[in-house]
């Protein structure tokens, strides 16, 4: 007789309230895509960052007027400075062929590369991580002493623009996520207030029989929790399919730029937590809305 006890308030039967799971579903879909975008862009920026981490390039200009012996002496001095600098594992001077390979996209004639007298490039591999600003400053000064005009390139300046763009995209995605969440809160408030109006007489009856405000609020809270969880799981499922389809399309395109667009397991975890977040927000919103409404009676 007491199994499967029905709610004392017939919540969810009204037409105006039935759309709540759908609404939460669409919002979860959008929020999931936003969060996935933020996580992808973040991963992409980290990948760029890590790709250049642990490397330096040193540009050594040729002496003027041209003097190959002096160039060799300067290069030896530079390599000695690099050898004496702690934290550097390897320094490789790019020969004419290496330079020609690097410049091949722009200059396809190797002899022209030699004639143009580009600065000598030394690719330096660090022992690990980055050099501190102080060590870099010290290295630059010592190189400047032995070979004026030598430039130490940490590649950071190339990353400033892309990372700033990635940060902006990430910020926009997070703002969209928060706005979707705020819209969900407003929707739950509206639905709850409508429901409170519709069930006014039942609520009055429950009050007259001794129901506390919290007892009534918990009924709304539990209904919102279930409705939001159901809708959010459906929304997550739809978003998951969409992300998988996009990833698949990009991977099959195989243009060398697609690898970063695959959502990893660590990214799926926060994405999968979204339905729980939506359900919790909906439940809490309904509870607070009802308690505030009843307190005004």
């Amino acid at each position: 007789m007491t199994g499967n006890r029905p709610l004392q308030l017939p919540l969810g039967r009204e037409r105006s309230v039935k759309f709540l799971p759908w609404l939460i579903g669409f919002m979860t879909f959008l929020a999931t895509l936003s969060l996935a975008a933020a996580l992808l862009v973040n991963a992409l920026a980290e990948r760029w960052d890590q790709g250049l981490d642990g490397r330096l390039t040193i540009q050594v200009p040729h002496v003027e007027p041209p003097d190959s012996v002096e160039d060799e002496l300067r290069l030896d001095a530079i390599l000695k400075v690099l050898t004496d600098t702690p934290g550097l594992r390897e320094a490789e001077v790019l020969d004419d062929r290496g330079m020609a390979n690097i410049l091949a996209p722009w200059i396809d004639d190797p002899t022209l590369v030699a004639e143009l007298r580009f600065p000598v490039l030394i690719a330096v591999t660090l022992d690990g991580g980055e050099l501190s600003d102080r060590v870099l400053q010290d290295l630059s000064e010592r190189l400047e002493e032995v070979a004026p005009g030598t430039y130490v390139d940490t590649h950071r300046r190339w990353l400033v623009g892309p990372i700033r763009l990635a940060d902006s995209i990430e910020l926009v995605a997070v703002v969209v996520l928060l706005m979707v969440m705020a819209a969900a809160v407003l929707a739950v408030i509206f639905v709850t207030q409508t429901s409170l109006t519709i069930h006014r007489s039942v609520i009055e009856l429950l009050h007259l029989m001794g129901a506390r405000d919290l007892y009534i609020a918990v009924q709304f809270q539990n209904y919102s929790l279930r409705a939001a969880l159901f809708g959010a799981l459906a929304g997550l499922f739809g978003a998951g399919l969409t992300i998988t389809a996009i990833s698949y399309a990009l991977v099959t395109a195989d243009d060398g730029f697609v690898q970063p667009f695959q959502l990893g397991l660590s990214a799926w975890l926060p994405v999968s937590a979204l339905p729980l977040a939506f359900a919790a927000v909906a439940a809490l919103t309904a509870r607070i809305t009802v308690l505030r409404h009843l307190a005004r009676l």
């Binding site: 007491t2 004392q8 007259l208 405000d213 009843l294």
Partner: protein
Amino acid sequence: MVRLEGVSLRYREGPEVLHGIDLELEPGSFHFLLGPSGAGKSSLMRCIYMANKPTKGRVMLFGRDVQTLDRDEQALMRRRIGVVFQDFRLLPHLNAFENVALPLRLSGESSRALDSKVAELMRWVGLADCLESYPATLSGGQQQRVAIARAVIGRPSLLIADEPTGNVDERLAMRLLFLFQELNRNGTTVFIATHNQALVQRFPYPFYRIDDGVLSLGRRTAANPVAAGAAGG
């Protein structure tokens, strides 16, 4: 148990429907409230079971001024009051069992205790076969008995019934009043509003009469067993 001091009531901007009512119901007493339709019986009842706040005056229940209670205290106090509404106010989406069980659920009664209590009371009001029936499938009289069962299931200290016999035949009306009488013998204070003078005549309890929102203590005379007394009370 119940004391009203100079209670007046008006709904929103409407006319005053209760005028300076003084009333006292002693613990364990049984009173009727007689009056024609529109005289203010239901409004007076609503003030007692805290559905309406009086525009003027004071309502004291169980020794406390209800105006001074916070919402949780009001809820606890309402659990000590059983109310039979004139329009039954059964929840249409709950079956008869769940409707009757509602006050016990609100009090946090265990399911096992609740099952036996509800079944026993439903047998008593002659609806043992209707436990699973929904209000829409019950007759007016059956709905009224479910409403009465709901009002008394929690063994309230105060029972307020607004026209509890309005939709039942004479025989069942008597049976229900015997139920109220039994509750009263067990200590429940009973206050019944009715327009049925014949019913009041059959029971030896004191009665109040209300006309146009003015309450007076009734007195029984040989010529007229339910005549109005002098204004006051």
